[in-house]
């Protein structure tokens, strides 16, 4: 089965500066792919290239096996998007803003606006002027606008910006339902991992314009690499032994060090400590979760 969205070697350069560096993304139908990275990691630039707002310097973007750069006008009507700080005509009402989109895209069923507003929980604000809406409601309106043409793909850049926890949960539920029930493929970007890990099937971590890691959450929630916490009496000696044996560690505080190892390697570590007469007072494992992966990647 083909991918709904596929990028190969997607690169954006401004002069000599590489902003996005050879990003490869593959998203299957109905999948929720989260693009996670700190501010300035390149998420928005990547999304802008995926929506044709910026032209890539190199690389390929394919939607449903169609080349995006040559079939933009065919592909874009099948995409709904929410961009960072979405713009609206502030002096017009929510309904008027959406009606104008309907006029352009040619969806003339009046009920469609009501339906979309109801899905997003914006029905009460139908006749409210956009200038009176809170940031969260503007984000919801942007999401309503994205859903108006019943898209096959949703591309959302920081869609939860300004949401309170209840609204964020509601939107997550809507997105999950669209993905599972209507097979809508979703690409969502965020700089807050906790926001997206609850709904994403796959997470791609971006740093300095590169896709540094892609984790498929469907097949495994955590990696098989765990962290071993060791409390020992002679930290100086332990550090020396570990360095001699080329084992990576992190010194935490006083007499605790942390090793990133597999389960199978525990016996070898304990033997190493005993051979060097280092007493291990305490030892425990902690799973290596997404947050740790994220922080590790960002620190590197």
């Amino acid at each position: 089965m083909g991918y709904t969205l596929e990028t190969k070697n997607l690169t954006k350069k401004y002069g000599q500066k590489t902003i996005i560096n050879a990003v490869d993304i593959r998203i299957s139908p109905g999948e929720i792919f989260a693009l996670v990275g700190l501010n300035g990691a390149g998420k928005t630039t990547t999304i802008k290239m995926l929506l044709g707002l910026i032209n890539p310097s190199y690389g390929l973007i394919k939607y449903m096996d169609m080349n995006f750069l040559t079939s933009k006008q065919e592909i874009l009507p099948r995409i709904g998007s929410v961009l960072e700080n979405p713009g609206f005509y502030d002096h017009m009402t929510v309904h008027q803003n959406l009606k104008m989109i309907q006029n352009v895209v040619g969806i003339h069923e009046h009920h469609n606006i009501d339906e979309v507003l109801s899905i997003i929980g914006m029905d009460a604000f139908k006749y409210e002027k956009v200038k009176n809406l809170t940031k969260a409601h503007r984000q919801k309106l942007a999401l309503s606008r994205a859903l108006l043409n019943s898209p096959d793909i949703l591309i959302l850049d920081e869609p939860m910006n300004g949401f309170d926890p209840i609204s964020a949960k509601e939107i997550r539920t809507v997105l999950r339902r669209l993905s599972k029930e209507k097979q809508v493929t979703i690409l969502i970007s965020s700089h807050v991992l906790a926001e997206v890990e609850k709904i994403a099937d796959t997470i791609g971590f971006m740093k300095n314009g590169k896709m540094v890691k892609i984790i498929d959450l469907k097949s495994r929630r955590v990696t098989n690499v765990d962290r071993l916490y060791l409390t020992i009496d002679d930290v100086t000696m332990a550090k020396k032994v570990l360095e001699e044996n080329d084992i990576k560690y992190k010194y935490r505080h006083s007499n605790q060090i942390v090793l990133k190892i597999n389960n199978e390697a525990v016996d070898d570590i304990l033997k190493l400590m005993m051979d060097n007469e280092i007493n291990v007072d305490e030892m425990f494992f902690k799973p290596y979760g997404l947050e740790e992966i994220f922080l590790d990647l960002m620190e590197k």
């Binding site: 802008k48 929506l51 044709g52 707002l53 910026i54 032209n55 933009k72 006008q73 874009l76 009507p77 995409i79 998007s81 961009l83 700080n85 979405p86 713009g87 609206f88 005509y89 502030d90 002096h91 017009m92 008027q96 104008m100 989109i101 006029n103 352009v104 895209v105 040619g106 606008r145 043409n149």
Partner: protein, 243 residues
């Protein structure tokens, strides 16, 4: 048509519409006051209907079209960048070329309608106040002149739109337009007046004989070239624009 209708809705629900009303009423009303002052002075002959309508047209061509019309045209485009709505339109998708074409079409309709409404207002005022020399025959002869004038000033607005697309803000283009406005006053003393695109419409409408070495055709050509180059540059810029 639906895109043009959207432009109408945007104008209808924005404060810009008040400036449209002002633009329509400014020439007939302000010149009426001038006429009242002149007519109250017995040493002068009364201003006739034809003179009044001619004053309105002169004011529109040499002042309003270079200032208010241009500012309105600029704002109608600049607002899309200011509110970040251009970005969302392109992803709907409205092609960039179509976006520009819609804006220029709507601005053209607006300028023609504003000029014609000023004309109608002038006629109504003259009729109600019983201006000397008023006749429907003259009115019918004046209508195509007003219409032609409105078309001749359209390239000014296209030039402004081009500047807005390049700068994505209305401040720099308005400064450029004010400088051009000042320049039209300066070139008045030179033969270049006939082929300076921003003064050429005045020459075409009010000075139909040859002007220095320049024929009427030269004046038309200057305006035409301004319009074509502005549209080309605006289209080129908008298609390459990174949003």
């Amino acid at each position: 048509m639906s895109k043009i209708y959207n432009e109408y809705l945007k104008l209808k629900y924005s404060k810009l519409k008040y400036f449209v009303y002002i633009g329509v009423a400014l020439a007939p009303v302000s010149l009426l006051l001038l006429v009242v002052i002149i007519n109250s002075d017995n040493s002068h002959n009364n201003v006739t209907y034809l003179e009044y309508m001619s004053l309105i047209l002169k004011f529109i061509i040499s002042v309003l079209s270079l200032t208010l019309y241009n500012w309105l045209a600029g704002e109608l485009v600049a607002v899309e960048f200011r509110l970040d709505t251009f970005k969302s339109q392109v992803t709907i998708p409205v092609s960039r070329g179509s976006f520009l074409f819609t804006k220029l079409s709507f601005i053209s309709i607006l300028v023609v309608m504003m000029t014609l409404t000023s004309f109608i207002l002038g006629v109504v005022i003259a009729l109600v106040l019983n201006f000397s020399g008023f006749s429907f025959e003259i009115t019918l002869k004046l209508l195509p002149v007003y219409l032609k004038s409105s078309f001749l000033v359209l390239p000014f607005t296209y030039f402004t739109v081009m500047l807005i697309v390049w700068f994505r803000t209305s401040l720099a283009p308005m400064i450029v337009n004010l400088m051009i406005f000042a320049l039209t006053i300066v070139v008045r003393n030179f033969n270049l007046y006939a082929i300076f695109p921003w003064s050429a419409p005045y020459r075409i409408i009010f000075i139909s004989s040859d002007y220095g070495n320049f024929t009427l055709g030269n004046s038309y050509f200057a305006i035409f070239i301004l319009g074509i180059i502005s549209m080309y540059l605006a289209n080129n810029r908008i298609n390459k624009m990174e949003i």
